[in-house]
């Protein structure tokens, strides 16, 4: 009954609004507008979501499964000790302003990114680089201090794209890259328009134009989609409305995964959370599926530790502290909180936090923990929670790929200080062998789960909605970006 009602709603919308896109134009919706368009000078994911792989390219690129592919570098070799990389560059490439691309541009870009005064948001990627050497116009060598397993992956991220010295300073407003699309126009507050680059060296793209439209309000986004004003959203902002799209024959709902581990971050130095038994009690009483269902309408994968379930190193630790209210009460009593206690839970704006917080509060109430929910804006969250560590609990999604290393920093806002764990991460960072890395990562994951450092909730899903006639869109996002190079319309 309900389903047919949904169909009816979809059909009505389809007949009421019948504007269609040009065959070779893509109108993609995004929630956030980028602050500027230079991916080498900002942390905002929205920048990469417009320019990554479309407008700017790096030496390598990441495909939709997280694998490293050639890009501006067509080939490379690694020295036996794993500290020297030699890249052969693609030839005949020009930037969108007509200037040529060669090894000097690569050296310029990498030196700029690792310089003292660099404004790159991921300076850590470039920190291991000790030297960048131009061997020929199409050959470059990069030396790094220690062997590093994910160096090629990192070079494929948006922060490591190659820019030209002539245009680097103006990329924020007029981005000039080497990619298959070039920048046309940015109507601030509304959209960015890219157009096919006719001089691109490499596989032709299928689209002639790509328009990124920024709509932050989920209801407006839904209406724009139903009215046919947009062709898709790579990550639709409101999971509760996906049901409507699923019932609508015009759209595909594609559920993928992101790198976002959503956690109940816990201040490990604050009373009473410095007591392992209290954290264990919380872990025992958290019902992950209820949070996923209630806050995210079922979209999300439960996690038992701070690691992405789709990663090959992931270990299933969901049952470290199975849902067990009686056990949780016992642990709390053993820690001296028989009748529970009061604490605050600070909630940043996203739905997963605001809604998830209410559900968590209800769950923790079962063992006598009364949470006061405090809604905070992002700026305030960064200031109070992240910087000043003035909090008990908070809910947040950590969206960086492979970011388990943050737990090795005792000054990070979790305030988790475990020398065994720190030694493990240190070793992992300099280990190159795949099996060894996997074993080290698994050990690190297990320690975090056992110590119940944070409440591990779920991996954020990437819920894409787009026109059924579109193909080539990424279901997952192993890196921030909307790679349009393979996107095309069916005839």
């Amino acid at each position: 009954m309900k389903n047919s009602a949904l169909h009816l709603a979809g059909l009505m919308a389809a007949t009421l609004f019948s504007s269609t896109a040009l065959a070779d134009e893509l109108r993609l919706g995004m929630v956030l507008e980028p602050p500027h368009l230079d991916p080498t000078a900002g942390a905002a994911a929205a920048i990469d979501e417009v320019v990554y792989a479309n407008l700017f390219e790096g030496l390598t690129r990441i495909d939709q499964n997280g694998a490293v592919l050639p890009s501006l570098a067509t080939d490379w070799s690694i020295s036996d000790d794993g500290t020297r990389y030699e890249f052969t560059l693609k030839e005949g490439v020009t930037f969108h302003d007509g200037t040529s691309f060669d090894a000097e541009d690569v050296k310029f870009s990498l030196d700029r990114a690792r310089a003292e005064d660099s404004v790159n948001a991921q300076k850590g990627i470039f920190a291991p680089i000790t030297n960048v050497e131009v061997l020929a116009t199409n050959k470059i060598a990069i030396e790094i201090a220690n062997p590093q397993g994910d160096f090629l992956f990192n070079l494929g991220r948006g922060d490591a794209v190659i820019v030209a010295p002539e245009s680097a300073e103006t990329n924020q407003t007029n981005p000039v890259g080497t990619g298959p699309f070039k920048f046309v126009d940015w109507q601030q507050g509304s959209k960015v328009i890219l157009e096919k680059n006719p001089d691109y060296v490499g596989d032709d793209v299928y689209l002639d134009r790509a328009i990124f439209t920024f709509i932050s309000d989920p209801n407006a986004a839904q209406n724009a989609m139903l009215a046919g004003e947009l062709d898709g959203f790579a990550n639709f902002p409101a999971p509760e409305t996906l049901e409507i799209f699923e019932a609508d024959p015009r759209f595909n709902v594609v559920v993928g995964s992101t790198e976002g581990e959503t956690i109940l971050a816990t201040n490990n130095k604050a009373e009473p959370f410095n007591d392992l038994r209290v954290r264990q009690a919380i872990a025992h009483v958290i019902d992950r599926q209820a949070i996923i269902d209630g806050a995210m309408f079922g979209y999300g994968t439960p996690i038992g530790t701070h690691f992405a379930p789709h990663h090959p190193y992931y270990v299933d630790l969901l049952n470290t502290y199975p849902h067990d209210v009686a056990k949780a009460k016992e642990l709390l009593a053993a820690a001296g909180y028989e009748s529970g206690f009061k604490a605050t839970l600070k909630l940043p704006p996203p739905t997963y936090a605001r809604r998830g917080g209410q559900i968590l509060a209800a769950q923790l109430r079962e063992i006598g923990i009364e949470l006061e929910l405090v809604n905070v804006e992002w700026a305030q969250w960064l200031e109070d929670v992240f910087t000043k560590k003035d909090y008990d609990l908070t809910i947040v999604s950590h969206v960086e790929p492979f970011d388990i290393g943050i737990y090795a920093n005792p000054d990070y806002y979790f305030q988790y200080d475990n020398v065994v764990f720190q030694a493990l991460i240190e070793k992992l960072n300099i280990t190159n062998d795949e099996d060894d890395r996997k074993a080290l990562a698994a050990a690190a994951e297990t320690i975090l789960a056992d110590d119940a450092v944070n409440g591990y909730l779920f991996q954020l899903a990437k819920t894409g909605v787009w026109d059924t006639r579109l193909s080539g869109m990424w279901p997952n996002s192993p890196v921030e970006g909307n790679d349009l190079t393979q996107v095309k319309w069916a005839n």
Partner: protein, 286 residues
């Protein structure tokens, strides 16, 4: 006893009777939520969400599996509280201003009137946006914003009513006997314009509930986990296509509540019409 008779005669006025009964029911339900609701409003039961109306949940359940009827009771209380306190702010500040303007006259009156016009120029929503930009969104800030908007309304009504009282002989007598302006205002003017103020308060109460709903709806008022009628409407909006009834219930409650208070206010005003025509119009809409 006299009051009771007055009350009983009011009841012969149909719109007052309807408005009073509906308001009373809603207010009693809202107050009841302080001590009892059919189901807890802070519980979350995901398995039971979006439930259809049943014997147990006779308006169904919301997106957290909470009983909608219980949520409406608690939401009505928040809305009522915001509206009552906002009316309180308006009366406490506005009435003395109006009395002062009427009693003192001259430059002070002109000053107060211009101040009134100035505040009046800002609709409650603009005031609320300014306040929430400065202090963040919350029910308290919404209350203050609506309260500020109420100040000139009550100042105007109080002044209008007071002006007509000031022309009466017994006020002259009081003045001749040496009473100061404020003493006359408090002892003789205020009691005589009280009915006027009560009527206006009833109408402002309904506007306050509407304004709170509006502010919460656009995210500037009550924040979860608290609830209010406007917030329920806002939360239901994102499910509207799939679960339209989620939005219908809080919407209907707001309509009934506002209509009931307005009917009651209108009825009261009609009863007092002879006095009102002398006092000048009080039909101040928001």
């Amino acid at each position: 006893m006299r009051m009771f008779k007055q009350f009983a005669s009011n009841f012969r006025h149909p719109s007052f009777a309807i408005g009073f009964v509906l308001s009373a029911v809603l207010i009693v339900l809202a107050l009841l939520s302080l001590v009892w609701t059919p189901h807890p409003t802070d519980g979350v039961n995901i398995a039971a969400r979006f439930g259809s109306p049943s014997l147990e949940h006779f308006l169904g359940t919301d997106f957290f599996g909470r009983d909608i009827f219980s949520m409406l009771m608690a939401g009505a209380l928040t809305s009522l509280r915001v509206a009552v306190l906002a009316v309180g702010i308006g009366m406490v500040v506005g009435v003395p201003l109006g009395l002062l303007a009427a009693g003192h006259g001259g430059w002070l009156e002109r000053l107060i009137l211009r101040f009134n016009d100035f505040v009046f120029a800002f609709p409650a929503i603009i005031t609320a946006i300014i306040i929430t930009t400065l202090f963040g969104p919350s029910a308290i800030n919404a209350m203050i914003a609506i309260g500020i908007f109420n100040i000139p309304v009550f100042a105007r009504v109080a002044r209008g009513g007071a002006l007509s009282i000031w022309t009466l002989d017994y006020v002259d007598a009081a003045r001749l006997s040496g009473l100061k302006v404020w003493q006359i205002s408090v002892r003789h003017v205020l009691p005589n314009i009280l009915s006027l103020l009560i009527v206006q308060a009833t109408i402002q109460l309904s506007l306050g509930i509407l304004a709170e709903a509006g502010l919460s709806y656009i995210g500037l008022g009550t924040q979860p986990p608290e609830t209010s009628l406007g917030l329920m409407l806002k939360e239901a909006q994102s499910f509207f296509l799939a679960y339209p009834m989620q939005a219908v219930w809080p919407g209907l409650t707001i309509i009934i509540f506002v209509m009931a208070l307005n009917l009651m206010g209108d009825g009261l005003r009609d009863q007092m019409d002879p006095k009102l025509s002398k006092a000048g119009g009080i039909n101040v809409a928001g």
